[in-house]
Protein backbone atom coordinates (compact mmCIF):
# COMPACT_ATOMS: atom_id res chain seq x y z
CA UNK A 1 0.00 0.00 0.00
CA UNK A 2 2.62 2.48 1.12
CA UNK A 3 4.75 1.75 -1.93
CA UNK A 4 1.86 2.35 -4.24
CA UNK A 5 1.08 5.63 -2.54
CA UNK A 6 4.70 6.72 -2.80
CA UNK A 7 4.71 5.77 -6.45
CA UNK A 8 1.59 7.86 -7.03
CA UNK A 9 3.19 10.89 -5.41
CA UNK A 10 6.33 10.42 -7.51
CA UNK A 11 4.25 10.22 -10.70
CA UNK A 12 2.42 13.41 -9.77
CA UNK A 13 5.66 15.21 -9.03
CA UNK A 14 7.14 14.13 -12.35
CA UNK A 15 4.04 15.50 -14.08
CA UNK A 16 4.45 18.71 -12.10
CA UNK A 17 8.05 19.14 -13.23
CA UNK A 18 6.99 18.41 -16.77
CA UNK A 19 4.67 21.39 -16.76
CA UNK A 20 6.10 23.73 -19.34
CA UNK A 21 5.78 27.45 -18.81
CA UNK A 22 5.22 30.21 -21.30
CA UNK A 23 5.73 29.73 -24.99
CA UNK A 24 5.94 26.34 -26.63
CA UNK A 25 4.99 24.47 -29.73
CA UNK A 26 4.39 27.60 -31.79
CA UNK A 27 1.47 28.77 -29.65
CA UNK A 28 1.46 30.47 -26.29
CA UNK A 29 -1.35 30.83 -23.81
CA UNK A 30 -2.18 33.78 -21.59
CA UNK A 31 -4.36 32.98 -18.58
CA UNK A 32 -6.87 35.74 -17.93
CA UNK A 33 -9.33 35.38 -15.05
CA UNK A 34 -11.63 37.43 -12.84
CA UNK A 35 -14.39 40.03 -12.78
CA UNK A 36 -17.77 39.10 -14.22
CA UNK A 37 -18.21 42.78 -15.11
CA UNK A 38 -15.23 42.51 -17.40
CA UNK A 39 -15.63 38.94 -18.57
CA UNK A 40 -17.61 39.72 -21.68
CA UNK A 41 -15.19 42.47 -22.64
CA UNK A 42 -12.27 40.13 -21.95
CA UNK A 43 -13.98 37.53 -24.13
CA UNK A 44 -14.46 40.03 -26.95
CA UNK A 45 -10.81 41.05 -26.68
CA UNK A 46 -9.68 37.43 -26.75
CA UNK A 47 -11.83 36.77 -29.79
CA UNK A 48 -10.51 39.82 -31.63
CA UNK A 49 -6.92 39.14 -30.60
CA UNK A 50 -7.03 35.86 -32.45
CA UNK A 51 -7.03 37.90 -35.66
CA UNK A 52 -4.21 40.13 -34.41
CA UNK A 53 -1.90 37.35 -33.33
CA UNK A 54 -3.03 33.80 -34.13
CA UNK A 55 -0.07 32.35 -32.22
CA UNK A 56 -1.22 33.62 -28.85
CA UNK A 57 -4.31 32.18 -27.18
CA UNK A 58 -6.11 34.03 -24.41
CA UNK A 59 -7.88 31.73 -21.95
CA UNK A 60 -10.64 33.79 -20.37
CA UNK A 61 -12.34 32.70 -17.15
CA UNK A 62 -14.92 34.58 -15.08
CA UNK A 63 -15.95 34.02 -11.50
CA UNK A 64 -15.67 37.52 -10.10
CA UNK A 65 -12.98 40.02 -9.15
CA UNK A 66 -12.19 38.03 -6.02
CA UNK A 67 -11.62 34.87 -8.06
CA UNK A 68 -9.16 36.66 -10.32
CA UNK A 69 -7.34 38.29 -7.42
CA UNK A 70 -6.98 34.98 -5.53
CA UNK A 71 -5.63 33.37 -8.68
CA UNK A 72 -3.13 36.25 -8.96
CA UNK A 73 -2.07 35.69 -5.34
CA UNK A 74 -1.66 31.98 -6.02
CA UNK A 75 0.29 32.66 -9.20
CA UNK A 76 -2.05 30.72 -11.50
CA UNK A 77 -2.95 33.59 -13.86
CA UNK A 78 -0.99 35.97 -16.05
CA UNK A 79 -3.66 38.67 -15.96
CA UNK A 80 -6.36 39.11 -13.32
CA UNK A 81 -9.47 41.15 -14.19
CA UNK A 82 -10.95 43.22 -11.39
CA UNK A 83 -13.65 45.85 -11.09
CA UNK A 84 -12.20 46.92 -7.74
CA UNK A 85 -8.70 47.64 -6.50
CA UNK A 86 -6.76 44.93 -4.71
CA UNK A 87 -6.90 45.40 -0.95
CA UNK A 88 -3.68 45.94 1.00
CA UNK A 89 -4.10 42.53 2.58
CA UNK A 90 -4.35 40.93 -0.85
CA UNK A 91 -1.27 42.78 -2.07
CA UNK A 92 0.65 41.57 0.98
CA UNK A 93 -0.48 38.00 0.37
CA UNK A 94 0.69 38.22 -3.24
CA UNK A 95 4.07 39.67 -2.20
CA UNK A 96 4.43 36.88 0.35
CA UNK A 97 4.23 34.49 -2.62
CA UNK A 98 6.84 36.48 -4.51
CA UNK A 99 4.35 38.14 -6.83
CA UNK A 100 4.23 41.90 -7.29
CA UNK A 101 0.87 42.69 -8.92
CA UNK A 102 1.01 45.63 -11.32
CA UNK A 103 -2.24 47.47 -11.94
CA UNK A 104 -3.47 48.60 -15.35
CA UNK A 105 -6.63 50.61 -15.94
CA UNK A 106 -8.20 49.13 -19.06
CA UNK A 107 -11.50 51.01 -19.04
CA UNK A 108 -14.13 52.71 -16.92
CA UNK A 109 -17.58 51.85 -15.82
CA UNK A 110 -19.05 55.38 -15.74
CA UNK A 111 -22.78 55.86 -15.39
CA UNK A 112 -24.31 59.07 -16.66
CA UNK A 113 -27.69 60.35 -15.46
CA UNK A 114 -29.92 61.42 -18.36
CA UNK A 115 -32.85 63.82 -18.49
CA UNK A 116 -34.87 65.39 -21.29
CA UNK A 117 -33.12 68.42 -22.91
CA UNK A 118 -36.01 70.69 -21.82
CA UNK A 119 -35.41 69.80 -18.19
CA UNK A 120 -33.85 72.87 -16.51
CA UNK A 121 -32.01 70.83 -13.85
CA UNK A 122 -28.30 71.62 -13.44
CA UNK A 123 -27.21 68.74 -11.31
CA UNK A 124 -28.13 66.17 -8.71
CA UNK A 125 -26.60 65.21 -5.42
CA UNK A 126 -26.15 61.52 -4.87
CA UNK A 127 -28.66 61.78 -2.00
CA UNK A 128 -31.27 63.26 -4.34
CA UNK A 129 -30.78 60.42 -6.80
CA UNK A 130 -31.17 57.93 -3.97
CA UNK A 131 -34.42 59.59 -2.89
CA UNK A 132 -35.70 59.45 -6.48
CA UNK A 133 -34.70 55.83 -7.21
CA UNK A 134 -34.42 54.16 -3.82
CA UNK A 135 -37.05 52.15 -2.00
CA UNK A 136 -38.89 54.40 0.45
CA UNK A 137 -37.41 57.50 -1.19
CA UNK A 138 -39.46 60.65 -0.68
CA UNK A 139 -38.99 62.39 -4.03
CA UNK A 140 -41.85 61.57 -6.42
CA UNK A 141 -42.43 64.84 -8.29
CA UNK A 142 -40.13 67.27 -10.01
CA UNK A 143 -41.54 70.15 -7.92
CA UNK A 144 -39.97 68.60 -4.83
CA UNK A 145 -36.63 69.45 -6.44
CA UNK A 146 -37.89 72.95 -7.21
CA UNK A 147 -38.22 72.22 -10.92
CA UNK A 148 -40.97 72.85 -13.42
CA UNK A 149 -40.41 71.13 -16.74
CA UNK A 150 -42.02 72.39 -19.94
CA UNK A 151 -44.06 69.57 -21.46
CA UNK A 152 -44.26 67.63 -18.20
CA UNK A 153 -47.68 68.62 -16.90
CA UNK A 154 -48.10 65.66 -14.58
CA UNK A 155 -45.01 66.69 -12.57
CA UNK A 156 -44.40 62.96 -11.98
CA UNK A 157 -40.78 61.80 -12.15
CA UNK A 158 -40.79 58.99 -14.68
CA UNK A 159 -37.97 56.72 -13.49
CA UNK A 160 -36.24 54.77 -16.23
CA UNK A 161 -34.12 51.89 -15.00
CA UNK A 162 -32.69 48.57 -16.17
CA UNK A 163 -33.74 44.96 -15.78
CA UNK A 164 -32.38 43.57 -12.55
CA UNK A 165 -29.77 41.21 -14.02
CA UNK A 166 -27.99 44.09 -15.69
CA UNK A 167 -24.56 44.99 -14.38
CA UNK A 168 -25.43 48.64 -14.86
CA UNK A 169 -28.44 48.18 -12.58
CA UNK A 170 -26.33 46.53 -9.90
CA UNK A 171 -23.60 49.14 -10.08
CA UNK A 172 -26.08 52.02 -9.93
CA UNK A 173 -27.64 50.37 -6.90
CA UNK A 174 -24.25 50.01 -5.19
CA UNK A 175 -22.93 53.44 -6.02
CA UNK A 176 -26.07 55.52 -5.57
CA UNK A 177 -28.55 53.68 -3.37
CA UNK A 178 -26.07 51.77 -1.24
CA UNK A 179 -25.68 47.99 -1.22
CA UNK A 180 -28.57 47.28 1.15
CA UNK A 181 -31.19 49.51 -0.44
CA UNK A 182 -33.52 48.29 -3.17
CA UNK A 183 -34.97 50.23 -6.08
CA UNK A 184 -38.38 51.83 -5.68
CA UNK A 185 -41.07 49.88 -7.52
CA UNK A 186 -42.77 51.35 -10.58
CA UNK A 187 -39.78 52.26 -12.70
CA UNK A 188 -39.69 51.59 -16.45
CA UNK A 189 -37.13 48.80 -16.67
CA UNK A 190 -35.48 48.69 -20.08
CA UNK A 191 -33.55 45.80 -21.58
CA UNK A 192 -30.67 47.84 -22.87
CA UNK A 193 -28.77 51.03 -22.27
CA UNK A 194 -29.77 52.34 -25.65
CA UNK A 195 -33.48 51.89 -24.84
CA UNK A 196 -33.03 53.99 -21.69
CA UNK A 197 -31.56 56.85 -23.68
CA UNK A 198 -34.25 56.58 -26.37
CA UNK A 199 -37.07 56.74 -23.83
CA UNK A 200 -35.59 59.70 -21.92
CA UNK A 201 -35.05 61.54 -25.19
CA UNK A 202 -38.79 61.37 -25.92
CA UNK A 203 -40.20 61.84 -22.42
CA UNK A 204 -39.97 65.28 -20.78
CA UNK A 205 -40.81 63.87 -17.33
CA UNK A 206 -38.16 61.16 -17.45
CA UNK A 207 -34.86 60.50 -15.71
CA UNK A 208 -32.60 57.58 -16.61
CA UNK A 209 -29.08 56.26 -16.24
CA UNK A 210 -26.72 54.33 -18.50
CA UNK A 211 -23.16 53.90 -19.51
CA UNK A 212 -21.64 57.13 -20.74
CA UNK A 213 -20.98 55.46 -24.07
CA UNK A 214 -24.71 55.51 -24.84
CA UNK A 215 -25.16 59.26 -24.51
CA UNK A 216 -26.28 61.24 -27.55
CA UNK A 217 -26.91 64.89 -28.33
CA UNK A 218 -30.70 64.59 -27.73
CA UNK A 219 -30.42 64.01 -24.00
CA UNK A 220 -29.07 66.18 -21.22
CA UNK A 221 -26.51 64.88 -18.77
CA UNK A 222 -26.66 66.82 -15.47
CA UNK A 223 -23.67 66.90 -13.17
CA UNK A 224 -23.55 64.76 -10.03
CA UNK A 225 -22.12 65.72 -6.66
CA UNK A 226 -21.45 63.58 -3.63
CA UNK A 227 -22.91 66.07 -1.12
CA UNK A 228 -24.89 69.33 -0.94
CA UNK A 229 -21.79 71.53 -0.96
CA UNK A 230 -19.54 69.21 -2.99
CA UNK A 231 -18.42 70.06 -6.50
CA UNK A 232 -20.89 69.01 -9.14
CA UNK A 233 -19.03 67.00 -11.76
CA UNK A 234 -20.22 66.32 -15.29
CA UNK A 235 -19.72 62.80 -16.63
CA UNK A 236 -17.02 62.51 -19.25
CA UNK A 237 -14.17 60.20 -20.07
CA UNK A 238 -11.80 62.66 -18.34
CA UNK A 239 -13.75 62.93 -15.09
CA UNK A 240 -14.26 59.17 -15.07
CA UNK A 241 -10.55 58.65 -15.62
CA UNK A 242 -9.39 61.13 -12.93
CA UNK A 243 -11.94 59.74 -10.48
CA UNK A 244 -13.77 63.03 -9.82
CA UNK A 245 -17.08 61.80 -11.24
CA UNK A 246 -18.84 59.99 -8.37
CA UNK A 247 -20.60 57.17 -10.27
CA UNK A 248 -17.59 55.73 -12.03
CA UNK A 249 -15.15 52.99 -11.23
CA UNK A 250 -12.01 51.93 -13.04
CA UNK A 251 -11.92 48.49 -14.64
CA UNK A 252 -8.56 46.92 -13.90
CA UNK A 253 -6.21 44.24 -15.02
CA UNK A 254 -3.42 43.09 -12.76
CA UNK A 255 -0.32 41.47 -14.16
CA UNK A 256 2.08 39.36 -12.13
CA UNK A 257 5.09 41.67 -12.03
CA UNK A 258 5.92 44.12 -14.81
CA UNK A 259 4.40 42.51 -17.90
CA UNK A 260 6.88 40.91 -20.26
CA UNK A 261 6.86 39.17 -23.60
CA UNK A 262 3.47 38.14 -24.95
CA UNK A 263 1.62 39.49 -21.89
CA UNK A 264 3.12 42.95 -22.45
CA UNK A 265 2.21 42.83 -26.14
CA UNK A 266 -1.35 41.83 -25.27
CA UNK A 267 -1.72 44.59 -22.65
CA UNK A 268 -0.36 47.16 -25.09
CA UNK A 269 -2.92 45.98 -27.61
CA UNK A 270 -5.74 46.25 -25.02
CA UNK A 271 -4.81 49.92 -24.53
CA UNK A 272 -4.72 50.52 -28.29
CA UNK A 273 -7.56 52.24 -30.14
CA UNK A 274 -8.79 49.00 -31.71
CA UNK A 275 -9.27 47.25 -28.35
CA UNK A 276 -10.59 50.39 -26.63
CA UNK A 277 -13.28 50.60 -29.32
CA UNK A 278 -14.31 47.08 -28.34
CA UNK A 279 -14.76 48.02 -24.66
CA UNK A 280 -16.73 51.11 -25.71
CA UNK A 281 -18.85 48.89 -27.94
CA UNK A 282 -19.66 46.75 -24.87
CA UNK A 283 -21.05 49.82 -23.09
CA UNK A 284 -18.12 50.87 -20.91
CA UNK A 285 -16.00 53.99 -21.05
CA UNK A 286 -12.62 53.60 -22.72
CA UNK A 287 -9.49 54.83 -20.93
CA UNK A 288 -9.33 57.81 -23.26
CA UNK A 289 -11.43 59.27 -26.03
CA UNK A 290 -11.16 57.06 -29.09
CA UNK A 291 -12.76 57.41 -32.48
CA UNK A 292 -14.29 54.19 -33.67
CA UNK A 293 -15.60 53.33 -37.08
Amino acid sequence: MRNRLALGVVVLLVLACGRPSGERGGRALIQNKGSDTLVNVAQAWAEAYKEVNPNVGIAVTGGGSGTGISAMINGTVDLANASRKMKDKELEAARANGIEPVEFVVGFDALAVFVHPDNPVEGFTRAQLAEIYGEGGSVEGWDQLGLAIPGCDSNEIVRVSRQNNSGTYVYFQEAVLGKERDFKLGSRDMHGSKDVVDLVENTPCAIGYSGLAYANEHVKMPCVSTSDNGTCVFPSSETAIDGSYPIARPLLMYSAGQPQGIVKVYLDWILSDAAQCIIQDKGYAPVRAVSCG
Binding site: G25, I58, A59, T61
Partner: protein, 289 residues
Protein backbone atom coordinates in the same frame (compact mmCIF):
# COMPACT_ATOMS: atom_id res chain seq x y z
CA UNK B 1 -67.13 -24.74 -4.12
CA UNK B 2 -64.30 -22.23 -4.57
CA UNK B 3 -66.45 -19.18 -5.14
CA UNK B 4 -64.81 -15.88 -4.22
CA UNK B 5 -65.78 -14.75 -0.80
CA UNK B 6 -66.32 -11.09 0.07
CA UNK B 7 -62.94 -10.99 1.67
CA UNK B 8 -61.17 -12.23 -1.47
CA UNK B 9 -63.07 -9.72 -3.52
CA UNK B 10 -61.85 -6.91 -1.31
CA UNK B 11 -58.28 -8.17 -1.30
CA UNK B 12 -58.28 -8.23 -5.03
CA UNK B 13 -59.59 -4.68 -5.26
CA UNK B 14 -56.90 -3.45 -2.86
CA UNK B 15 -54.35 -5.38 -4.85
CA UNK B 16 -55.43 -3.70 -8.09
CA UNK B 17 -55.31 -0.30 -6.40
CA UNK B 18 -51.72 -0.77 -5.24
CA UNK B 19 -50.70 -2.08 -8.60
CA UNK B 20 -52.20 0.96 -10.28
CA UNK B 21 -50.48 3.31 -7.83
CA UNK B 22 -47.07 1.76 -8.47
CA UNK B 23 -47.65 1.87 -12.22
CA UNK B 24 -48.54 5.58 -12.08
CA UNK B 25 -45.40 6.30 -10.06
CA UNK B 26 -43.29 4.43 -12.58
CA UNK B 27 -44.83 6.28 -15.49
CA UNK B 28 -44.27 9.58 -13.69
CA UNK B 29 -40.61 8.67 -13.61
CA UNK B 30 -40.26 8.84 -17.36
CA UNK B 31 -42.21 12.08 -17.72
CA UNK B 32 -39.24 14.38 -16.93
CA UNK B 33 -37.01 12.47 -19.34
CA UNK B 34 -39.52 12.72 -22.15
CA UNK B 35 -40.26 16.39 -21.44
CA UNK B 36 -36.59 17.34 -21.24
CA UNK B 37 -35.74 15.52 -24.44
CA UNK B 38 -38.67 16.87 -26.41
CA UNK B 39 -38.08 20.46 -25.28
CA UNK B 40 -34.40 20.16 -26.17
CA UNK B 41 -35.10 18.67 -29.57
CA UNK B 42 -37.85 21.17 -30.30
CA UNK B 43 -35.89 24.27 -29.26
CA UNK B 44 -32.32 23.18 -29.89
CA UNK B 45 -32.80 21.01 -32.93
CA UNK B 46 -32.87 23.88 -35.45
CA UNK B 47 -29.35 25.11 -34.58
CA UNK B 48 -27.73 21.70 -34.99
CA UNK B 49 -25.60 21.27 -38.06
CA UNK B 50 -22.19 19.99 -39.03
CA UNK B 51 -20.97 23.59 -38.87
CA UNK B 52 -22.32 23.97 -35.35
CA UNK B 53 -20.29 20.99 -34.20
CA UNK B 54 -17.09 21.87 -36.02
CA UNK B 55 -16.69 25.65 -35.82
CA UNK B 56 -15.76 27.86 -32.91
CA UNK B 57 -18.01 30.38 -31.18
CA UNK B 58 -17.91 33.91 -32.62
CA UNK B 59 -19.40 37.35 -31.96
CA UNK B 60 -19.03 37.17 -28.20
CA UNK B 61 -20.24 33.56 -28.17
CA UNK B 62 -23.66 34.55 -29.50
CA UNK B 63 -23.10 32.77 -32.79
CA UNK B 64 -20.95 30.08 -34.33
CA UNK B 65 -20.36 26.57 -33.06
CA UNK B 66 -19.01 24.62 -30.14
CA UNK B 67 -15.98 22.82 -31.51
CA UNK B 68 -13.43 23.88 -28.82
CA UNK B 69 -15.87 22.88 -26.07
CA UNK B 70 -16.63 19.55 -27.72
CA UNK B 71 -12.96 18.68 -28.09
CA UNK B 72 -12.26 19.93 -24.56
CA UNK B 73 -14.87 17.63 -23.08
CA UNK B 74 -13.39 14.65 -24.95
CA UNK B 75 -9.93 15.54 -23.55
CA UNK B 76 -11.24 15.91 -20.01
CA UNK B 77 -13.14 12.63 -20.10
CA UNK B 78 -10.28 10.68 -21.68
CA UNK B 79 -7.65 11.86 -19.23
CA UNK B 80 -10.02 11.31 -16.30
CA UNK B 81 -10.61 7.73 -17.50
CA UNK B 82 -6.89 7.06 -17.91
CA UNK B 83 -6.42 8.10 -14.30
CA UNK B 84 -9.43 6.54 -12.63
CA UNK B 85 -9.86 3.20 -14.38
CA UNK B 86 -6.51 1.61 -13.49
CA UNK B 87 -6.72 2.81 -9.89
CA UNK B 88 -10.40 1.95 -9.53
CA UNK B 89 -10.14 -1.53 -11.03
CA UNK B 90 -6.99 -2.32 -9.02
CA UNK B 91 -8.65 -1.19 -5.81
CA UNK B 92 -11.76 -3.22 -6.56
CA UNK B 93 -9.65 -6.30 -7.34
CA UNK B 94 -7.88 -5.95 -4.02
CA UNK B 95 -11.09 -5.45 -2.08
CA UNK B 96 -12.92 -8.29 -3.80
CA UNK B 97 -10.18 -10.89 -4.31
CA UNK B 98 -7.49 -10.31 -1.73
CA UNK B 99 -8.69 -8.24 1.20
CA UNK B 100 -9.25 -10.07 4.45
CA UNK B 101 -12.33 -9.02 6.36
CA UNK B 102 -10.68 -6.81 8.96
CA UNK B 103 -10.94 -3.26 10.25
CA UNK B 104 -8.75 -1.88 7.45
CA UNK B 105 -10.97 -3.31 4.73
CA UNK B 106 -14.05 -2.03 6.48
CA UNK B 107 -12.46 1.40 6.82
CA UNK B 108 -11.61 1.44 3.11
CA UNK B 109 -15.16 0.48 2.19
CA UNK B 110 -16.49 3.21 4.42
CA UNK B 111 -14.13 5.71 2.82
CA UNK B 112 -15.35 4.75 -0.65
CA UNK B 113 -18.98 5.23 0.35
CA UNK B 114 -18.13 8.61 1.86
CA UNK B 115 -16.13 9.62 -1.19
CA UNK B 116 -19.20 8.93 -3.32
CA UNK B 117 -21.24 11.21 -1.08
CA UNK B 118 -18.92 14.21 -1.21
CA UNK B 119 -20.59 17.06 -3.11
CA UNK B 120 -18.92 17.86 -6.42
CA UNK B 121 -18.15 21.45 -5.39
CA UNK B 122 -16.09 20.08 -2.50
CA UNK B 123 -14.18 17.89 -4.94
CA UNK B 124 -13.64 21.04 -7.00
CA UNK B 125 -12.10 22.90 -4.08
CA UNK B 126 -9.96 19.87 -3.24
CA UNK B 127 -8.82 19.84 -6.86
CA UNK B 128 -7.82 23.51 -6.66
CA UNK B 129 -5.87 22.95 -3.47
CA UNK B 130 -4.23 19.68 -4.44
CA UNK B 131 -3.68 19.73 -8.19
CA UNK B 132 -3.78 23.38 -9.22
CA UNK B 133 -1.78 24.78 -6.32
CA UNK B 134 0.13 22.04 -4.46
CA UNK B 135 1.26 20.01 -7.45
CA UNK B 136 1.49 23.21 -9.53
CA UNK B 137 -0.41 21.89 -12.53
CA UNK B 138 -2.10 25.27 -12.79
CA UNK B 139 -5.60 25.46 -14.20
CA UNK B 140 -5.20 22.74 -16.77
CA UNK B 141 -6.81 19.68 -18.27
CA UNK B 142 -4.59 17.57 -16.02
CA UNK B 143 -5.83 19.23 -12.82
CA UNK B 144 -9.47 19.13 -13.96
CA UNK B 145 -9.31 15.51 -15.11
CA UNK B 146 -7.64 14.29 -11.93
CA UNK B 147 -10.36 16.07 -9.94
CA UNK B 148 -12.99 14.35 -12.06
CA UNK B 149 -11.16 11.04 -11.65
CA UNK B 150 -11.22 11.26 -7.86
CA UNK B 151 -14.86 12.19 -7.95
CA UNK B 152 -15.79 9.22 -10.10
CA UNK B 153 -13.51 6.63 -8.49
CA UNK B 154 -16.27 5.34 -6.18
CA UNK B 155 -18.47 4.61 -9.21
CA UNK B 156 -15.72 2.59 -10.87
CA UNK B 157 -14.77 0.77 -7.66
CA UNK B 158 -18.32 -0.14 -6.69
CA UNK B 159 -19.33 -1.23 -10.21
CA UNK B 160 -16.15 -3.28 -10.61
CA UNK B 161 -16.40 -4.89 -7.19
CA UNK B 162 -20.01 -5.84 -7.77
CA UNK B 163 -19.32 -7.44 -11.11
CA UNK B 164 -16.31 -9.27 -9.65
CA UNK B 165 -18.48 -10.61 -6.88
CA UNK B 166 -21.11 -11.71 -9.38
CA UNK B 167 -18.63 -14.30 -10.65
CA UNK B 168 -19.59 -17.52 -8.83
CA UNK B 169 -17.17 -18.49 -6.05
CA UNK B 170 -17.15 -22.04 -7.49
CA UNK B 171 -15.29 -20.77 -10.58
CA UNK B 172 -12.46 -19.52 -8.40
CA UNK B 173 -12.38 -22.63 -6.27
CA UNK B 174 -12.22 -24.84 -9.33
CA UNK B 175 -9.34 -22.80 -10.63
CA UNK B 176 -7.43 -22.83 -7.32
CA UNK B 177 -7.89 -26.60 -7.13
CA UNK B 178 -6.08 -26.87 -10.44
CA UNK B 179 -3.09 -25.25 -8.74
CA UNK B 180 -3.55 -21.76 -10.11
CA UNK B 181 -2.42 -18.77 -8.07
CA UNK B 182 -4.78 -15.97 -7.12
CA UNK B 183 -3.44 -13.71 -9.87
CA UNK B 184 -3.73 -16.47 -12.50
CA UNK B 185 -7.30 -17.03 -11.38
CA UNK B 186 -8.11 -13.34 -11.65
CA UNK B 187 -6.39 -13.03 -15.00
CA UNK B 188 -7.91 -16.10 -16.65
CA UNK B 189 -11.27 -16.60 -14.94
CA UNK B 190 -12.53 -13.70 -12.85
CA UNK B 191 -11.75 -10.77 -15.17
CA UNK B 192 -13.02 -12.37 -18.40
CA UNK B 193 -16.26 -13.22 -16.63
CA UNK B 194 -16.78 -9.78 -15.15
CA UNK B 195 -15.53 -7.52 -17.90
CA UNK B 196 -19.04 -6.57 -19.08
CA UNK B 197 -19.98 -5.22 -15.67
CA UNK B 198 -16.69 -3.37 -15.34
CA UNK B 199 -17.15 -1.72 -18.71
CA UNK B 200 -20.66 -0.68 -17.79
CA UNK B 201 -19.29 1.01 -14.70
CA UNK B 202 -16.62 2.74 -16.72
CA UNK B 203 -19.05 4.04 -19.31
CA UNK B 204 -21.45 5.24 -16.64
CA UNK B 205 -18.51 7.14 -15.26
CA UNK B 206 -17.85 8.68 -18.65
CA UNK B 207 -21.36 9.98 -18.95
CA UNK B 208 -21.20 11.48 -15.48
CA UNK B 209 -17.81 13.05 -16.14
CA UNK B 210 -18.96 14.66 -19.37
CA UNK B 211 -21.75 16.52 -17.62
CA UNK B 212 -19.98 17.74 -14.49
CA UNK B 213 -19.45 21.49 -14.22
CA UNK B 214 -18.41 22.36 -10.69
CA UNK B 215 -15.22 20.24 -10.52
CA UNK B 216 -13.82 21.69 -13.74
CA UNK B 217 -14.88 25.30 -13.25
CA UNK B 218 -11.96 26.22 -11.01
CA UNK B 219 -9.48 23.58 -12.10
CA UNK B 220 -9.26 23.68 -15.85
CA UNK B 221 -12.22 24.90 -17.84
CA UNK B 222 -12.19 28.31 -19.47
CA UNK B 223 -15.02 30.74 -20.11
CA UNK B 224 -13.64 31.33 -23.58
CA UNK B 225 -10.59 29.91 -25.30
CA UNK B 226 -10.78 29.72 -29.06
CA UNK B 227 -7.96 27.18 -29.42
CA UNK B 228 -7.91 23.42 -29.18
CA UNK B 229 -5.81 22.05 -26.32
CA UNK B 230 -2.40 20.72 -27.33
CA UNK B 231 -1.41 18.99 -24.12
CA UNK B 232 -2.79 18.12 -20.71
CA UNK B 233 -1.17 21.28 -19.35
CA UNK B 234 -3.46 23.52 -21.40
CA UNK B 235 -6.71 25.00 -20.25
CA UNK B 236 -9.74 24.15 -22.33
CA UNK B 237 -13.35 25.00 -22.94
CA UNK B 238 -15.88 22.32 -21.97
CA UNK B 239 -19.46 21.60 -23.00
CA UNK B 240 -20.98 21.75 -19.54
CA UNK B 241 -19.35 25.04 -18.57
CA UNK B 242 -20.05 26.49 -22.01
CA UNK B 243 -23.73 25.72 -21.51
CA UNK B 244 -23.68 27.41 -18.11
CA UNK B 245 -21.86 30.43 -19.48
CA UNK B 246 -24.02 31.10 -22.50
CA UNK B 247 -27.19 30.52 -20.46
CA UNK B 248 -26.31 32.94 -17.67
CA UNK B 249 -23.31 35.12 -18.36
CA UNK B 250 -23.38 36.31 -21.93
CA UNK B 251 -25.89 38.94 -23.06
CA UNK B 252 -27.67 38.62 -26.38
CA UNK B 253 -27.40 34.86 -26.90
CA UNK B 254 -30.18 33.60 -29.19
CA UNK B 255 -32.56 31.36 -27.28
CA UNK B 256 -31.93 28.30 -29.43
CA UNK B 257 -28.17 28.24 -28.80
CA UNK B 258 -28.12 26.98 -25.19
CA UNK B 259 -30.74 24.38 -26.08
CA UNK B 260 -28.57 23.23 -28.97
CA UNK B 261 -25.54 22.87 -26.70
CA UNK B 262 -27.63 20.98 -24.15
CA UNK B 263 -28.94 18.70 -26.87
CA UNK B 264 -25.41 17.86 -28.05
CA UNK B 265 -24.27 17.23 -24.48
CA UNK B 266 -27.18 14.95 -23.68
CA UNK B 267 -26.77 13.14 -27.01
CA UNK B 268 -23.14 12.45 -26.14
CA UNK B 269 -24.16 10.99 -22.79
CA UNK B 270 -27.03 8.94 -24.25
CA UNK B 271 -24.78 7.63 -27.03
CA UNK B 272 -22.25 6.52 -24.41
CA UNK B 273 -24.99 4.76 -22.47
CA UNK B 274 -26.27 3.07 -25.63
CA UNK B 275 -22.77 1.84 -26.45
CA UNK B 276 -22.48 0.55 -22.90
CA UNK B 277 -25.75 -1.38 -23.17
CA UNK B 278 -24.86 -2.83 -26.57
CA UNK B 279 -21.43 -3.87 -25.35
CA UNK B 280 -22.86 -5.44 -22.25
CA UNK B 281 -25.36 -7.45 -24.26
CA UNK B 282 -22.63 -8.60 -26.62
CA UNK B 283 -20.39 -9.75 -23.78
CA UNK B 284 -23.24 -11.30 -21.86
CA UNK B 285 -24.11 -13.51 -24.79
CA UNK B 286 -20.60 -14.97 -24.44
CA UNK B 287 -20.96 -15.69 -20.76
CA UNK B 288 -20.65 -19.30 -19.81
CA UNK B 289 -23.34 -19.47 -17.12
Amino acid sequence: MFEASDLNERNRRVERLWRLLFLVMTVLLIVPVVVILSVLIHKGGPVLSIDFLFTEPVQGMTAGGIFPALVGTVWLVTVALLASVPIGVAAALYLSEYAPDNWLTRAINLAIINLAGVPSIVHALFGVGAFVLFFRFGTSILAASLTLAIMTLPVVIVATRESLQAVPQAFREACWNMGATRWQTIRRVVLPNSISGILTGVILEVSRTAGETAPIMFTGAAFFLPFLPQSVYDQTMAMSLHLFVISTQVPGVPEALPFGVALVLISMVLAMNAISIAFRMHLRSKKKW
